[in-house]
């Protein structure tokens, strides 16, 4: 049972870490494309 709980904890931590890594990657892509390609991105106020 302890093994199961530890595995769950590890799964939560790794999933959270990788998910945030993916989100960070997306933000980085935004930044890079805005700087390198440019011209395509607009920010609107809704």
């Amino acid at each position: 049972m302890n093994t199961a709980l530890l595995t769950t904890l590890a799964a939560v931590v790794i999933t959270a870490g990788v998910s945030m890594l993916v989100a960070g990657l997306i933000k980085a892509l935004h930044f890079i494309t805005r700087r390198m390609i440019g011209g395509h991105h607009k920010e609107k106020r809704s």
């Binding site: 049972m1 093994t3 199961a4 709980l5 595995t7 769950t8 590890a10 799964a11 939560v12 790794i14 999933t15 959270a16 990788v18 998910s19 945030m20 890594l21 993916v22 989100a23 960070g24 990657l25 997306i26 933000k27 892509l29 935004h30 494309t33 390609i37 395509h40 991105h41 607009k42 920010e43 609107k44 106020r45 809704s46």
Partner: protein
């Protein structure tokens, strides 16, 4: 010739009469259940694309049991329990769905085809517009996937079976199939059937959960973005390519799933219309047809009758319920941190049943506030849910076999 020889002409009836009472009850029960699933599919209560072929397959396979050359009862549909190259090669020439099962189902190819189709239908722009928010909600909506694993172990399942049934909490059919094929080959038929039956129920059950947990006043909160980012197709394509490469690098075990999903996204964003038409049409619907059909014919009484089935039924509903509660809890967390300007219903869309849960969330909001649009946020959480489910599947498939 006597009467029993004449009775032998109708082998379905003969094998039914000679079976044990438990098998008789199970076969008749599955025949009726199959017809009921077709009815529920036709009425739109469950997903008709899956339920009609699945229900018909379930009824037909339990009716069509005959006495084989070996003298044992069996069918001419498929034998999922066959082992050994010689036996499987022989069955490929006898059972008409054995080629589909052996070459497409048991290696996860059919799940990957469905994933490619989902990828083509996804607009990742919703995630790219609000990546951290979407990922956070998706993470909260995996509560059932996380909690079910230790609960299943506590109830007596082994680690592999526990991880497989826990994936039902992700509400992603192909993911459950893939994980159970990798981890628990003995139970993947009942787990797959339980998963797809319950996924059909999210459309009917989650609205009650939303109404129970979120009062109408909060359901009516409009979501206002301070900034709306316009995401170009180049950016979406770059995300698909880099995201796929990074995730495959981190979790090679689930690389086929990541590759299939992001291939669909890449094909869509690259503007390859012929591929989009093929993957989003014939491939997706063909795979869905054979997925439903194969799941149905796998529900043959002697294959699926397992003492663990009732436990799986309980754990499956527990996983989905916890994920729904987790998603709404995530919505409440964002609601409080945003100064009460966020609609907590969006959280349930983190359960990755694309696009069902996003549509359910929008429907529940529209009932109390017809002008409020939460669908873009909900779809962002929904698509992120697919990614987090794939990550958890990869973690379980990698980590669980190491446990002793």
């Amino acid at each position: 010739m006597n009467f029993s020889d004449l009775f032998g002409i109708f082998q379905g009836l003969q094998t039914l009469a000679h079976a044990s009472p438990l098998i008789i009850a199970a076969r008749v029960g599955f025949m009726v259940l199959g017809l009921f699933l077709v009815y529920l599919g036709k009425r739109g209560i469950l997903e008709p694309l899956l339920m009609v072929p699945m229900g018909l397959g379930m009824s037909a396979v339990n009716a069509g049991v005959l006495v084989l050359d070996t003298g044992a009862p069996g069918t001419l549909f498929v034998d999922p329990l066959a082992t050994g190259d010689e036996r499987i090669f022989a069955l490929l020439q006898i059972d008409f769905l054995q080629p589909i099962y052996t070459f497409m189902f048991s290696n996860g190819l059919i799940a990957c085809f469905v994933f490619m189709g989902i990828g083509v239908l996804l607009d990742v722009g919703y995630v790219l517009a609000r990546p951290f928010l979407s990922m956070f909600l998706a993470l909260c909506a995996e509560l059932g996937t996380f909690l079910t694993f230790p609960v299943a172990v506590a109830l007596g399942l082994n680690f592999n079976d526990s991880a497989s049934i826990a994936m039902v909490g992700g509400a992603d059919g192909p993911m459950v199939l893939y994980t159970s094929l990798m981890l628990s080959r003995d139970l993947f038929v009942p787990i797959g059937v339980v998963a797809y039956l319950y996924l059909g129920l999210t459309y009917g059950g989650y609205p009650y959960l939303i109404k129970f947990l979120v009062p109408p006043k909060l359901r009516a909160i409009p979501v206002v973005d301070r900034k709306v980012l316009v995401v170009t197709s180049e950016e979406k394509l770059a995300f698909a390519v880099i995201g796929c490469t990074v995730l495959c690098l981190l979790f090679p075990v689930a690389a086929p799933l990541f590759f299939s999903l992001f291939l669909g996204v890449a094909v869509r964003e690259a503007g390859l219309h012929y591929f989009v038409d093929f993957i989003g049409g014939p491939l997706l619907y063909g795979a869905t047809l054979f997925l439903g059909l194969t799941l149905g014919v796998l529900c043959e009484a002697t294959t699926i009758l397992n003492p663990k089935v009732f436990l799986l039924l309980f754990l499956g509903i527990f996983a989905l319920l916890m994920s729904g509660i987790g998603g709404i809890a995530g919505g409440y967390i964002v609601y409080f941190f945003s100064g009460r300007k966020f609609n907590p219903v969006i959280g349930i869309a983190g359960v990755s049943c694309v696009p069902t849960t996003a549509k359910v969330a929008q429907k529940c909001v529209s009932e109390v506030a017809p002008g409020v649009l939460i669908l873009p946020h909900a779809l962002g959480a929904n698509i992120s849910g697919v990614i987090t489910s794939a990550i958890i599947a990869a973690i379980y498939v990698t980590l669980v076999p190491l446990l002793k």
